[in-house]
């Protein structure tokens, strides 16, 4: 799989940019702040229709413009034109081979990509949100159905929170009774969509567990005990019947939810506990160990996507080599060199890129890109 042509209009710092990528490895070089990451971010956006850097698409649109457009040609068994118009605050418009596509999930899977970025350290050291996003992006790429489940879930949470807030404010007991009876209905939706998402995440976690441990061993050059456990908010001992457990837990948090006016359990509050040699990685792992674990998670998702369908996913290494010590740098390069698909690398200087990764060089400066 390869994005052979990328055209950006009003995306980040680019008013207009066209770049053609050859097969194999492309290295984008240039000083910081010139727009290297923005180019690879656009490629990654085509895989998930979300950015790895920001939760809100507004930042993707060039200042003063109301939309951004990414056009691309994707080579797999055949060539597919995939175009996205990013409309912050409104639904994106997608085109496949110039024909409009109504739902994002119908265009998912045309591009599959795994991106390594400096922000990845937050997978280990950061908030639960970073780990949830990691799982969800992989879930959506392996099972596009989840795009609509997640949209339904988000909507349900918003509606349910509004209801809880107005219940907290209501004074008459009659009013409260009505609110409680509608709450039951939203609880049903919460459980329906929430349990579905949790089940999907558990499956993804299960699939990456082995590859993560293997990748960690490769990066750290020693066998370590890597454990990942899904931690469901307010639900200790998550068992098979997630829906039933959620129902029970909802009863327990009901009075607290009514006081605080927010939904206290469900996949939007869950986390993954990363454990290294018996200790929680977040508090105990060294900087180097944390990096190894973050990279191992990314390499594992690359493995999972690689097994998923024909055509190797695109591997994007955005400015990561500068963050790593010599040993990890070389091991990561070794892993990346094993890819038979497209590899996109960005770095400030050529010296940051390990020699194992030779490829076509581009230089990026002041919003322009030239080969060579």
């Amino acid at each position: 799989m390869r994005v052979s042509r990328l055209e950006l209009t009003d995306f980040r710092n680019y008013e207009h940019l066209v770049v053609e990528f050859p097969a194999g490895t492309s290295v984008l070089l240039g000083p910081n702040g010139q727009g290297k990451t923005n180019i690879v971010e656009a490629v990654a956006y085509l895989a998930t229709f979300s950015s790895h850097r920001v939760a809100n698409d507004t930042a993707l649109v060039r200042a003063g413009c109301d939309r951004a457009v990414i056009r691309s040609l994707v080579e797999n068994d055949r060539t597919i034109g995939l175009d996205v118009q990013i409309n912050p605050g409104r639904a994106n418009r997608l085109q496949v081979n110039r024909a409009p596509v109504r739902r994002a999930r119908d265009a998912l899977g045309i591009v599959r990509a795994v991106m390594f970025a400096p922000e990845d350290l937050s997978l280990v050291k950061g908030d639960p949100a970073a780990r949830r996003r990691f799982l969800d992006q992989l879930l959506v790429q392996t099972n596009p159905r989840y795009v609509s489940v997640m949209a339904d879930y988000d909507k349900t949470i918003k509606q349910r929170n509004s209801l809880l807030r107005s219940a907290a404010k209501s004074h008459s007991s009659l009013e409260r009774e009505t609110l409680q009876s509608t709450l039951d209905v939203w609880n049903d939706r919460l459980v329906q969509f929430g349990a579905d998402i949790v089940a999907g995440r558990l499956e993804v976690l299960d699939r990456i567990a082995g590859p993560t441990a293997d990748s960690y061993a490769l990066l750290a050059a020693a066998r370590n005990d890597v454990k990942m456990t899904y931690v469901a908010a307010r639900m200790p001992e998550l068992r098979d019947d997630v829906g039933q457990r959620m129902r029970e837990a909802l009863v327990n948090v009901r009075s607290e939810e009514l006081v605080r006016g927010v939904t206290l359990l469900g996949p939007h509050r869950d986390d993954v506990d990363l454990n290294l040699n018996g200790l929680p990685a977040r508090g105990y792992a060294s900087h180097g160990e944390s990096w190894s674990l973050a990279l191992a998670l990314r390499l594992a998702s690359y493995e999972v996507l690689r097994d998923e369908q024909s055509g190797e996913p695109i591997l994007i290494l955005d400015d990561v080599f500068a963050e790593l010590d010599q040993q990890r740098r070389e091991r990561l390069a070794q892993a990346a060199a094993g890819s038979h698909g497209q590899v996109l690398i960005t770095a400030a200087v050529s010296g940051d890129v390990p020699e194992a990764l030779s490829g076509v060089r581009f230089s990026v400066d002041s919003g322009a890109i030239v080969q060579g």
């Binding site: 739902r103 999930r105 119908d106 159905r145 609509s148 339904d152 909507k155 349900t156 918003k158 509606q159 349910r160 509004s162 209801l163 107005s166 009505t178 609110l179 009876s181 509608t182 039951d184 209905v185 939203w186 049903d188 939706r189």
Partner: protein, 203 residues
């Protein structure tokens, strides 16, 4: 800044048009200029129609459909089956179902769906009136025909729960494959629902 808006009355018209659903600034501008070039009598006919809708159109006392007079056309029609009641969100849904000519019962228009974010709960919809209509036992079956989206499903589920105790048959519109569609092109959610709602073929 030099002349950022149109002549007073023209700007007023554009401002009014922009407030209409599905009309953006450009569209409003086009409509305004179109009206400017239209014959006076056609514009009068349009203005008359606008006011007539406002003056003469009312809400049906029984089902909250749009009506001219106290009752809507369906509620006035004695041949409609009073034992079957179809619950919809908006008057335009009545028109959509009427077009099918499949349904011979009566309607109840909720005036929206449960939407806590907009402060719409059961009390803001015509739900109490619905239960008043069900009280005398004439209605044998209630068909819930709200939209198959998050809020529509929640509203149907709420009504279903509330009706469970009053001994009326409650059904939900089937959702599934569109006519003339291809099975292989259906998305998983739609296909899944079509499976769940499959029916026996009567020999």
């Amino acid at each position: 800044m030099y002349q950022t808006s149109y002549e007073g009355v023209l700007q007023d018209l554009i401002d009014q048009l922009v407030r209409l659903p599905a009309v953006g600034p450009k569209g409003a501008q086009r409509i305004a200029y179109h009206l400017l070039e239209t014959d006076r009598e056609d514009v009068e006919a349009l203005a008359g129609a606008l006011l007539a809708v406002k003056d003469r159109l009312t809400v049906c006392e029984v089902c909250f459909n749009t009506a001219e007079g106290a009752l809507c056309r369906v509620c006035r029609d004695e041949t409609r089956d009073p034992a079957v009641l179809c619950v919809v969100e908006e008057p335009k849904d009545v028109i959509a179902i009427e077009r099918t000519r499949e349904f011979t019962g009566r309607y109840h228009v909720l005036g929206g769906v449960l939407d806590p974010m907009r402060g719409i709960g059961p009390d803001q919809l015509h739900i109490r009136e619905l239960f008043t209509r069900l009280a005398d036992g004439t209605v044998q079956e209630v068909i819930l025909a709200t939209d198959p989206n998050t809020e529509g499903e929640a509203t149907a589920a709420y009504l279903g729960r509330q009706m469970a105790t009053i001994g009326v048959a409650v059904t939900r519109l089937a959702s599934g494959l569109p006519m003339g569609g291809d099975l292989e092109l259906a998305d998983e959610v739609t296909l899944g629902r079509a499976f769940a709602g499959r029916r026996r073929i009567d020999a």
